[in-house]
C-alpha cells in the first residue's frame, strides 16, 4: 500500500509506493529534496523523521552514523516508509507558498473557443464553492479514454474561482490535446484536480517582475498578471515578454494592450519569430529571449523573472537572464513538457537546483 509523507517545513505531502524510496517519490511528485549520489554514500539527502517508521535500506554506515539513526535521521535516497511519515528536510520554506490542499472537482465545459489556429481556450464551470489556487498553478484534467490525466496551467485569475480557463495547444499526435481540440464541447461533464505546482509570484519580494512566455505558456503569466494588476492593485513594474510564431498565434494581444492602457506600471513586449507579410508586424521580430535582451539592454539585475513555455524557450531565456546578471535565486520556471520533449532531455549536473 502507498504511504503519505509530509515534508516539514514546507507542509507539502506526497505518496510513496511500496519499495519506492522517499527521494524517488518526492522528486516524482515535484518536491525537491537535496541529493547527490543517490545510493546511500554521500549523505546529501539526509532527512529527519519526525513521526512514523522507516526502513534505512542500503545507507552506508559512514554516511549515516549510528548516532544519527538513533536520532531518527535517514537517507531519503535509500529509506522506504513502513507507515505514514512526517519528515523534516533541509529545504527552503517559501513565504509566498500557500498550502492549498489538492482536491478533486467535478464541473461542466462551458465553452471551447479558438484562441489561435493551434490553441483552444476551454472554460470549465466547477461545482460547489470553486477552486482556491495561486495564480500560475496548474490542474490535472481527466479526459475520456486516457489512462493518465493531462496537466494544464490555469489561465484565469484566482478571483474567478468557479470558472477555470485553460489554453490548450494542439500537440501533433498528442491524444489529450487532440481530444480537446476535436471532441470536447460545451456541456460535457469534466473532472479536474488541483491546484498543483510551485509556479506563482513571490509577492513578498518587492523587486520588479519580468514574465517571459511562449505559445500556450502564456496561460500562467496571464493569470499572474491579471491577479497582480486587477485583484491586488500591485504597483511595481511588471513586464511581459510574449513570443509567438506569427500574428495569428499571438493570442490575447488585445487584452494585454488594453492592460497597458489601464495600468501605467505594466509593459507589454510582444515578439514574433516568423512574421509573414500578412502580419503587418511592426513590433519586435525574433525570439522571446532576444526581445528581452533588447528591451532590458542586457541588464536584468534586481528583478524576479517568471518563465513559462516549451523547454527550448525556457532554456534560452535562462541563459539570456544569466548573461544579463540575473541568477537562480531570482528565476522561476514552468516548463510545458510533452512526451516528445522528454525523449531528448539533456542530462543535467547538480550545479542548479531548480532552473
Amino acid at each position: 500500500m502507498a504511504y503519505q509523507v509530509t515534508v516539514q517545513p514546507l507542509g507539502v505531502s506526497f505518496e510513496v509506493e511500496d519499495d519506492q524510496t522517499l527521494l524517488d517519490a518526492a522528486l516524482r511528485s515535484g518536491i525537491y529534496l537535496p541529493h547527490a549520489c543517490c545510493h546511500g554514500l554521500c549523505a546529501t539527502c539526509k532527512v529527519q523523521v519526525v513521526d512514523g517508521e522507516i526502513e534505512h535500506g542500503a545507507a552506508s554506515p559512514f554516511a549515516l552514523m549510528d548516532v544519527e539513526r538513533d536520532e531518527g535521521k535517514c537517507l531519503a535516497c535509500c529509506a522506504t516508509p513502513v507507515s505514514d511519515l512526517v519528515i523534516e528536510a533541509d529545504v527552503d520554506e517559501d513565504a509566498d507558498a500557500r498550502s492549498i490542499p489538492l482536491r478533486d472537482f467535478s464541473g461542466t465545459v462551458q465553452e471551447v473557443f479558438d484562441l489561435s489556429p493551434t490553441i483552444k481556450g476551454v472554460r470549465i464551470a466547477v461545482d460547489g464553492g470553486g477552486m482556491d489556487f495561486q495564480a500560475g498553478q496548474y490542474v490535472n484534467v481527466d479526459l475520456p479514454g486516457l489512462e493518465h490525466p493531462r496537466a494544464f496551467s490555469l489561465a484565469s485569475p484566482p478571483a474567478d474561482a468557479n470558472l477555470l480557463e485553460l489554453n490548450v495547444r494542439l500537440v501533433h499526435g498528442g491524444k489529450g490535446t487532440t481530444y480537446i481540440h476535436k471532441d470536447l464541447k460545451a456541456g460535457d461533464p469534466i473532472r479536474v484536480s488541483g491546484p498543483l505546482g510551485r509556479f506563482f509570484v513571490r509577492k513578498s519580494d518587492r523587486q520588479p517582475v519580468i514574465f517571459m512566455a511562449g505559445g500556450s505558456g502564456l496561460s500562467s503569466p496571464k493569470a499572474m498578471i491579471q491577479d497582480m494588476l486587477e485583484t491586488d492593485g500591485d504597483d511595481r513594474r511588471i513586464t511581459l515578454i510574449y513570443g509567438a510564431r506569427n500574428r495569428a498565434e499571438l493570442y490575447y494581444h488585445d487584452l494585454f494592450v488594453g492592460l497597458t492602457e489601464r495600468f501605467s506600471n505594466f509593459t507589454y513586449v510582444p515578439a514574433l519569430s516568423e512574421p509573414t507579410e500578412a502580419c503587418n508586424w511592426e513590433g519586435f521580430t525574433g525570439f522571446v529571449h532576444d526581445a528581452a535582451k533588447a528591451h532590458f539592454d542586457n541588464d536584468f539585475r534586481d528583478h524576479k523573472a517568471y518563465l513559462c513555455g516549451p523547454p527550448v524557450m525556457v532554456e534560452a531565456c535562462i541563459r539570456t537572464l544569466m548573461q544579463g546578471r540575473l541568477f537562480e535565486r531570482d528565476i522561476y520556471t514552468e516548463r510545458f513538457v510533452t512526451a516528445a520533449d522528454g525523449n531528448k532531455a539533456v542530462a543535467r549536473s547538480p550545479l542548479f537546483k531548480k532552473i
Binding site: A36, C42, F62, D90, F327, R348, S349
Partner: protein, 523 residues
Amino acid sequence: MEKTTATPPKKLGLKEKYALMTRGLGWEPTYRGADELYDQIKFEGIKIHDWSKWEDPFRLTMESYWKYQAEKERKLYAIIDAFEQNNGHLNVSDGRYVNTLKLFLTGITPAEYGAHRLFAMLGRQFPGVGAAIACQMQAIDELRHVQTQVHTISQYNKFFSGMSEWRHMTDRVWYMSVPKSFFEDAMTAGPFEQMIAISFSLEYLLTNLVFMPFMSAAAYNGDMATVTFGFSSQSDEARHMTLGLECIKFVLEQDPANVPIVQRYLDKWFWRGYRLLSLVSMMLDYMLPKKVMSWKEAWEIYFVQNGGSLFNDLSRYGIRMPKYWEQTVASADRLSHETWNTFYNFAGAAAFHSWAPSDEDMAWLSEKYPDTFDQHYRPRFEWYREQEAQGKRFYNNSLPMLCQTCQIPLNASEPDDPTKTAYREVEHEGNKYHFCSDGCRDIFCHEPEKYVQAWLPANQVLQGNCFEPGVDPEAPGFDAAAELFKYYRLTPGQDNGDYRGSKDEANWLKWKGLAPADAAEAA
C-alpha cells in the same frame, strides 16, 4: 481519515535555525583594515561585491562535525584492525595488485597533506564566514584522510616492498614530483585559483575518475581495507564537491569580469588534472589483476558525459568546455599504453614494480582498444616479453626529458598522430623549455616566472643535486645509479624492477603455496 485537528506551531527551517544559532559569530575587523587582514583576496582580479551571497550549503556545527568524524574513525579502524588480524592482504587477487596501492598510497597521501595545508590557508584568507568554515573543516578532513592512509601504508608495509620510505621519496623520486608539483602549483596560487583548482576541478570534475573505478577495483580485487577507506572518505568528498560547486557559482555570479578569469583557471586545472590522471589510466588498464573498466570507458562516462552535462550547465554563465578537451578524447585510447610503457622502461628507478602484460591482459586490451592496441602497442610489449624470455629484461637507463609544467616524461603522442611523440618548446629569457602538450605549454606561457622554478627530477640528477652529501660524481668508479638510489632511499633489487622475480612475487607465491607457473595461471 482525518489525521490531525490542532495546527502545530510553525517550525523553523534548518537554514533559519542555523542562521539564528550562528548569528553574529563572524565579525568585522576594527583595529586593522579588512584589506590588511585578507591580504591575498584581491590580486587575482576576482571581484567580490557581497560575501553574504555565499550560501553555506553545509550548516554543520563543529560539535556535530567532531561527532560524525569520530564515529567514522571508529568504524574505519575497526575494519582495518580486522583486516590486519585476518591477514587480509592474503585475500587480494594477486601480489601484483599491491603495486596499484603503492602508487596510490605513496602518491596521494602527500597530495592529501598538501590539500590539508591548502585549505587551512584558504580558511584563513576568505573574508566570508561560510567559505572560511567550509575550508577549515575540509582542512581537517584532509588530515584525517592522510592519517587513515598512513595507517594503511603501515599495514601493507609489513608485507610488501617499496612503501617504507614514502615520506622521504615524496620530495625526491621522479614520478612523485607529478602529484607533488600539482599541489604545490595550486598552493602557491591565489585563493580563488586554489578553490577552482582543488575544490572544483579536482574534487568535483575529476575525483570520480579516481574514486569510482579505483574503489570498484579495490573491491573487485579483494582489498576490503581500501574499500572501507573509500566509503569513509567519500562521505567527506560529497561535502568537498558541494563546496566546489558553491564556490564556482558564487564567483561567476559576483561580477561579469570574473568569467574570463575563472575560464582560464578551468582551462589550466582541467589540463593539469588530466595529466595527473594519466597515472590512474595505467592503473586501470595495466596494474589491476582483475580489471573493472578501461580508461577510455571511464573517461567517456566521468568526463565526456558527466563533465559534459556540467559544462552545458556552466555555459549559462558564459563558460565553455575547457581548452583542449577534444585532445583528451582523441588520446583516450593511447594514454594508458604510453604511460605504462614509460613505467616499464624506468622500472629500475621506481619504488613499485611494473611488468609486461600477459596474454590474457593483452586480449583484454585488444578488446577494449580495437583501434590502437594491436596496431601500436602490442608489438612493443611482445618485444619486451621476448627480451625478458632471453633473460634481457629491458630497462631504460637514460634520463627522460620532462615536461616543465606537469613533470611527466614526454611520452605522449601527438593528438592527431599516434606514431609521433608530442614535443613543444618555448624560449624564455634565453632558455629553452620543453612541454608534453599544447595545454602544458600554454600554462607555462601564462606564468613563466612560476614554472621556470620547477624542480625537475631528471634535470636535477644531471646537475648533480640528487646524491647524498659528500658524494663526488667526479671520483673514479662513480656509480650514478647506485648513488641516486641511495638518495631516493630505494633498495635496488627489492623495491624496484620487474614484478617477475621480485621479492614481492617470491613472498606472495610462498604465502599462497603456489609455484611460479601456477601463479601465471592464477593471474
